[in-house]
């Protein structure tokens, strides 16, 4: 049940949001997501997501002499993130307005 209500924590979206700050390698992505979004991604989940996002052209790898290859958001990835963020903002706005009106919840 928790998973169904936890769509905001979709790993692909979290990775896109993390890379929106600056290019990062795998470990830096997991650290950033854990610290700023409170979600801990496992290695399997992270690289399944990276592979999928790279395949769709939403992120791209940067040249690196190290095994820790950084990734950056592409223009298509930024567009996808913007679209999803706007959708989430709309849902959030409606939810907060109705919570205030019907439950007296002031929000954060």
């Amino acid at each position: 049940m928790r998973d169904r209500l936890d769509r905001w924590a979709d790993p692909p979206l979290l990775v896109l949001a993390s890379l929106a700050e600056e290019p990062k390698h795998g470990y830096a992505i997991t650290q950033d997501i854990a610290e700023t979004m409170g979600v801990r991604l496992s290695a399997g989940t992270l690289y399944a997501v990276i592979s999928r996002l790279e395949s769709r052209g939403l992120i791209e790898p940067l040249e690196s002499g190290d095994r820790r290859r950084p990734y950056r958001l592409t223009a298509a990835g930024a567009g996808e993130l913007a679209e999803q963020s706007e959708r989430m903002r709309q849902v959030s706005s409606v939810a907060q307005r109705r919570l205030r009106a019907n439950y007296g919840w002031g929000g954060a």
């Binding site: 997991t30 290695a43 399944a48």
Partner: protein, 317 residues
Amino acid sequence: MSARRPRRAQGAGVLARVALGLYPPAWRARYGDEVQALLEDSGAGVRAAASLAWHAVPAWAWPARHLHDRPGRMRASLATTGMAWALLAGLAAVFVQLAQAQGSSQALTLARHPVIQGSYWVFDGAVIVSVLAVAAGGLPLWVRMVRDARGADRRPELAGLLAPAVVPVVFVAASTVIVGLARRPGVRVVPWQARPVADLASGMIGPWWFLALVVAGLAAAAVSAAGPAVALRRLRPDGRAVVLATRAAGLAAAAMGLAGAASIVAAVGLYLWAPADAGYHVGWQLAVYLPAVSLAAAVAIISSGRGLRAAREPAVA
């Protein structure tokens, strides 16, 4: 405690490396080093290994397109489908031996239960379609690869391609000899056997010999499929023969999956409805057979499906 922790971390690291080994070669080549680095940085635990192993399944079933070219995806699909199909064919042979080939008990069962009879018909028809599909779609590619391997004097690949023709014949010949010896009362097949291996009650070989033959048969099926799979990977054929084989593999996998489903219906039916003395009420046999058939059929169907998707894409000039 302090000595135990590094050992546990070491064990988890080994588990993670094993889990990484479950991924397709192209995936490992592209991301393997990065994942290793991440595991070193974050500390590989059992959870990380389990997560890696879990995500290996979709990496095979839905391979990332940027990692595989179209012919490569078709070849990988053919190799995986071939292995799963061979296992299904081996299991189908076991099913035939245990069910359809058992004359007296079957006559009683079939007379009473048309569901089992219907399942047998579906099974037979689906197996015939599947074998014909393998022959029609696989032979042109096989002949082409044999020609390529001979032309380039690549003997290991040639040996691999001959495996599906030679290994089953060797297995059938060896098992015929073993069954002949095991059926003769008074003959000791192996020196350490305390008594003759003969089930005098039914006149058939005993259960341990049967089990040994089943294991050997499944091993023979695996070797028969592994030979062409390795040849596919090394010779890297391309063109119409690969597309035809991929389409035929889709049909063969679907038909063999249907045969597997029909055999499961029949096996469950025999378990439920066969006469008490017919020998079909052994739960562990079903507990092994059902998951084995389901898993092999799932692998064959998923893998052939991904090959069909690649075959539908336009060829790059």
